[in-house]
Symmetry: C2
Subunit: 403 residues, 2 copies
């Protein structure tokens, strides 16, 4: 029998997912049967959704839905083509211009997923043997794999300790001046901590490095009207590329790279993942445009989101849980043992009559001994719901002796 | 100045795209301002669309639009999460089951783009040092890059001559028995030619190879009710994986891998591009489900598509053009010189009062001396439109002396 069949069959019988299912601790691919609201339907019962990336709560905003629907009526359900060939509608061009304006950058390239924006931009930019990349150890998988796709010398990598500017400087010193690209998340997805971009851009200036920020979890959340982590630090003019995604605050699927017109032109013509992918459907463009219309005028969504996250952080801390000092939409509940973390996850999920859904985070997504439940918040939540979730989490936490 | 900025600036000033724009022969990123119908609006005038992948013409089908709209009303505009965590709706599970049934496979995994389906499946499967891949020289870029992402010995590759089963056998002989995976497109995107799967699966059996078919351009077009290239040859039970996309016959963006439950389980848990991407929006699932509802019952779309392509092939050939004996929705017009091909493209595009849009294909997408205009057809075209397009192509072809 083919080796490929054999290894898949063996994994299906004896692999970790199958074993976890057998003992009832498998935490993945749970089904949702409702809109992605603060309370969703899972397993036939209402469940408080503390495990989404729906930061601005826009997936079910009436004006956003209306705009997506109008656009389907006018422009159909898809483009069936790459941007390069038959997949550029005026909607795509409008969206790129609006995003560039919003972010304070010169130009923007839209991709069909956020992961592809990283894959496609990083691999296109790392194109010559003598180039270097200096990357935070906790950067997202799509950055790591984007680097692997780059056609440069794969040895030319320095992975710096998470958010450690001394180690970043050590990395910059070890790289030929002017030939390094620094890549970091703006907000880190698991613990919600923020990269120190003020310090980072100073170092970049000293060592003439190119700066690439993945702001997937920062846009919509930080900075004036949600312009993101660079805006929060007031350093947008010192950043070369800002990457972001449509599958979080922008409530759809897709991603973008905002940069100078020269860098965007490079990516449009050199990025294979961009060139060889069909463009986002008209309704995706309309969704993001509708959300930009709202948040450019009105920052109350962003403010309520941060209020709700702060309220939960304070509540959890007061109840005796270990939480970090996060200032974003992500509040991690540090548990420190995989077994206990999974038990906590399941007890919260199964809680009657209303469950609480969180994201279980284990090694290697977090270091051993730092296993955690990631919780995240939405602008469409209110204080009563936070109180209700807090009460359930506290009750369950006491029951299984996390506190 | 940073090397990255320098190279982008230089390319913006002196790169091939800029030079092509200066002399007015740049053929990319043309804007469409209408639905992707047989006649679209480009540059403010009606243009016959012979350069899409909208084979079944479903992007503007009333029932498809209606179903997408209903789903936005009921489930919102996005999931904001990966399938693994909070992005699995019952709609995704239903879609996977329906696709598996339609294709005659046991299970199916849905991805957020077709390119990611190849990236994610191939890189997940090629996971051990001693595995081999045997790949057609004209396979799509997403296959080539998926192989590059695999964590196997990158030397373990045999690229066989396009559709050449003798060379494939040579490759299989050079590989340890049972350790090779054959990858080929079912229908090739540029010339619309079909891989000889009958012969290929016999060889696979002889050498105990795993078989992976990218049927992006075959599904909807070939086989009973559009079940694709494997069905066309009656060899579905001898294929291990069938990959397809939603951005062609299925009128949206996304992709899938259909395979055994063991192989799908492997991909669901091992594929980083799958695990780290947000799931397709509800409206994408609804679009594909609505199209499956239609084509499972009614094969008149597929039949009309093939009739229209055949009518054009015959007409072009009768007019004296060099076309291949394609039996798919893609009819290539072989020009054989880049300069002439680009001139032909622009004259067709600028034709008044109605233009014709085609896809210019140059080296390296086609060998030097085989530069061509790719034309493709839609089920929603009728004989009058084909006659009209044929008349314009013939007139322009004579004017610039292609015939």
């Amino acid at each position: 029998m083919s080796k490929f069949r054999k290894k898949c069959n063996r994994y299906y019988k004896f692999g970790a997912p199958t074993m976890a299912k057998k003992v009832g601790v498998y935490p993945y691919f749970m089904h949702i049967n409702s809109e992605q609201n603060p309370v969703v339907e899972m397993d036939g019962k209402p469940t408080i959704m503390l495990g989404s990336n729906n930061y601005l709560g826009m997936t079910s905003h009436p004006r956003v839905k209306e705009k997506a629907i109008e656009t389907i009526n006018e422009f159909g359900v898809g483009t069936t083509g790459s941007r390069l060939l038959n997949g550029t509608m005026e909607l795509h061009v409008e969206l790129e211009q609006r995003l560039a304006n919003f972010l304070g950058m010169e130009d923007c390239v839209v991709f069909s997923t956020g992961l592809l924006a990283n894959f496609g931009s990083i691999s296109a930019l790392l194109s010559e043997e003598d180039e270097w990349v200096i990357s935070d150890q906790y950067n997202h998988a799509s950055i790591i794999d984007g680097i692997r796709l780059g056609r440069f010398n794969q040895e030319n990598k320095y992975i710096f300790k998470h958010n450690d500017m001394d180690d970043l400087e050590k990395g910059l010193r070890s790289v030929p001046k002017g030939k390094g690209m620094i890549i970091t998340d703006g907000v880190f997805s698991m613990e919600g901590d923020i990269a120190p971009l003020g310090h980072l851009v100073d170092l970049a200036e000293d060592y003439d490095a190119f700066v690439y920020i993945d702001d997937a979890h920062g846009v919509g959340v930080l900075g004036s009207h949600g312009r993101g982590t660079s805006d929060y630090f007031g350093v947008t003019d010192k950043i070369d590329l800002i990457m972001g995604t449509f599958s979080k605050s922008f409530a759809s699927v897709g991603g973008y790279i905002a940069a100078s017109k020269e860098v965007c032109n490079w990516i449009r013509h050199k990025s294979r993942p961009f060139i060889f992918t069909a463009s986002p459907p008209p309704s995706t463009c309309a969704t993001v445009l509708a959300i930009l219309d709202i948040i450019e005028k009105d920052d109350s969504y962003q403010r309520n989101l941060l209020d709700m996250a702060l309220k939960m952080k304070t509540g959890l801390s007061d109840a005796g849980f270990e939480v970090t000092d996060s200032h974003t939409a992500i509040i991690p509940l540090i548990i420190g043992s995989e077994k206990k973390m999974l038990k906590f996850f399941h007890e919260l999920y199964k809680h009657e009559p209303k469950g609480v859904f969180t994201n279980p985070v284990r090694f290697p997504a977090t270091p051993k001994g730092r296993e955690l439940l990631r919780t995240s918040y939405m602008a469409s939540m209110n204080a009563d719901l936070i109180d209700e979730a807090l009460e359930i989490i506290t009750k369950v936490g006491k029951k299984i002796k996390v506190i």
